[in-house]
């Protein structure tokens, strides 16, 4: 039996109206339909139906393609969406970094000194000044390294060690006289301490560091009964510490500021002649 002789099945009749019939079966299909008028009628209706469906759906999807179905438009939308996602990721990453930096920046302030409300440098210097005051102001025999009677030498020595020309303020208007001074180790270099005493044997210390940037207003902090005013000016960080009330400390701080700052009415002690011994 050759392929052309094979009985025609229903699938082949559909294939004929769909244009999918292989040519060598066309004759067999035609013969089959001729021999079966009922089938021929049915399939001619299917063929009509096919044409009608095409026309009806062509009409339904007629007209230009709407903009929102354009590939360029959809691609643009996708790009914007991805861009927004990237922007969100970038924002999240920046927040993380910002948080890390902020956390690092405030790490020194978060101790007991956070209460000072001052920045890192101010907090450290104030704490050092108070600690140094606590240790040396109670000394009876050796409160200072170099005595006030060698004031010239004291100033030259400390100026040399700190690398800046120092000024020793005169606090006699507040009733305090200079006892002397000493060199102290600080976080990243030397610090200087000058000690003063009044007629009631009350002592106050002026603590100095160099290399402190910026200029700040007076900031007060108190710890263990010792009060301190801190400020910075002209590259110096100053802290004045004493077991005294805040008003007195402020008066003294102002006195020191006036004599050390070019902005204050400066009463500078002239640099002594000659080299230190």
């Amino acid at each position: 039996m050759t392929p052309a002789d094979r009985p025609v099945d229903e699938d082949e009749l559909h294939a004929q109206i769909d244009g999918r019939l292989s040519p060598h079966r066309a004759a067999a299909v035609d013969a089959h339909l001729a021999a079966h008028p009922g089938t021929q009628e049915r399939f001619s209706q299917y063929a009509e139906q096919r044409q009608a469906l095409r026309a009806a759906f062509a009409a339904q999807a007629a007209g230009p393609i709407p903009d929102r179905l354009r590939i360029a438009r959809i691609r643009e939308e996708r790009w914007h969406r991805r861009y927004r996602q990237l922007a969100q990721i970038a924002a999240a990453v920046s927040l993380l970094i910002l948080g890390g930096v902020a956390g690092w920046a405030v790490r020194d302030v978060t101790g007991p000194l956070a209460a000072t409300g001052v920045g890192t440098v101010a907090g450290v210097i104030t704490a050092d000044a108070i600690a140094a005051h606590r240790i040396y102001s109670v000394e009876v025999r050796h409160p200072v390294e170099v005595n006030a009677d060698q004031e010239t030498h004291l100033v030259q020595w400390l100026s040399k060690r700190l690398g800046r020309e120092l000024t020793v303020p005169d606090l006699s208007p507040a009733g305090f006289r200079l006892m002397g001074g000493r060199l102290l180790p600080a976080e990243d270099g030397p610090a200087a301490q000058f000690m003063y005493e009044n007629g009631s044997s009350e002592r106050l210390t002026l603590y100095l560091r160099v290399g402190v940037g910026g200029e700040t207003a007076f900031r007060y902090h108190e710890e263990g009964g010792i009060g301190a005013f801190y400020w910075s000016d002209e590259g110096f960080g100053y802290a004045i510490a004493a077991k005294a009330n805040r008003d007195l400390l402020l008066r003294i701080a102002e006195l020191v500021y006036k004599q050390t700052s070019p902005n204050g009415a400066r009463a500078k002690i002239p640099p002594p002649p000659g080299k230190p011994s």
Partner: protein, 213 residues
């Protein structure tokens, strides 16, 4: 005199760094030269996709265009997964059909019913000089909408979109024998529903007599 600047972009997306850059910058550059191709390969099939979607969604044109848009977005995001033999049309129809099925599934899970069996009648234009008036189109589409979805899909793909039986089987994910039996049943059902409108009163009467007898 300005020296010509060498173009560095060409071929950049072939290298790993280029691909990463492409991903970061998105499709604007990720497909490089393939971009015009995408539009050229996809857009000719959009009218057919809209017809297919209309047939699946009972002629609701707005929902049909939503479905097509969804399909196109997926096609662009999975462009690298398109069928190797280059049958973009079959691949697009498959995406659309799968989207339709999953939407359908979701709707059914939510307990929502199928959209009303309504054909958007108002907008159907007449076909001038054709055998069928707009009225006939309306009746045909209304009858078509009554068919089960599986028969509608087979009829639209084969009779309207001219897919081969094999292509239709692949799009619908069923064996070719299933396609043939659905085609046969769909055509007969539609003939039955339209008997009279399409074929005149004479045939309707005889058909009625046949059924009664």
């Amino acid at each position: 005199m300005i020296a010509a600047t060498p173009t560095l972009a060409a071929g950049a997306s072939d290298r790993p760094a280029g691909r990463l850059l492409s991903w970061l910058l998105g499709s604007r550059s990720s497909y490089g030269d393939a971009m015009p191709d995408q539009a050229a390969l996809i857009e000719p099939h959009i009218p057919g996709l809209r017809r297919f979607a209309c047939a699946l969604l009972h002629g609701d044109r707005h929902s049909a265009d939503d479905l097509v848009q969804d399909c196109l977005e997926r096609a662009l995001s999975r462009w690298h997964l398109r069928w190797a033999e280059g049958d973009v049309r079959g691949w697009l129809y498959t995406i659309l059909y799968n989207r339709f099925l999953s939407d359908q599934h979701r709707r059914q899970r939510r307990g929502m019913h199928d959209a009303a069996l309504e054909v958007a009648e108002a907008e159907l234009p007449g076909v001038e000089g054709g055998q069928y008036s707009a009225l006939a189109h309306r009746d045909l589409l209304r009858a078509f909408a009554v068919l089960p979805e599986e028969q509608r899909s087979v009829l639209i793909l084969i009779a309207v979109e001219d897919l081969s039986y094999e292509e239709a089987a692949r799009v619908l994910g069923v064996p070719i024998g299933t396609v043939m039996s659905r085609l046969s049943r769909g055509r007969e059902r539609l003939r039955y529903l339209l008997d009279g409108e399409m074929n005149g009163g004479q045939r309707r009467r005889s058909a009625t007599l046949t059924r009664v007898g």
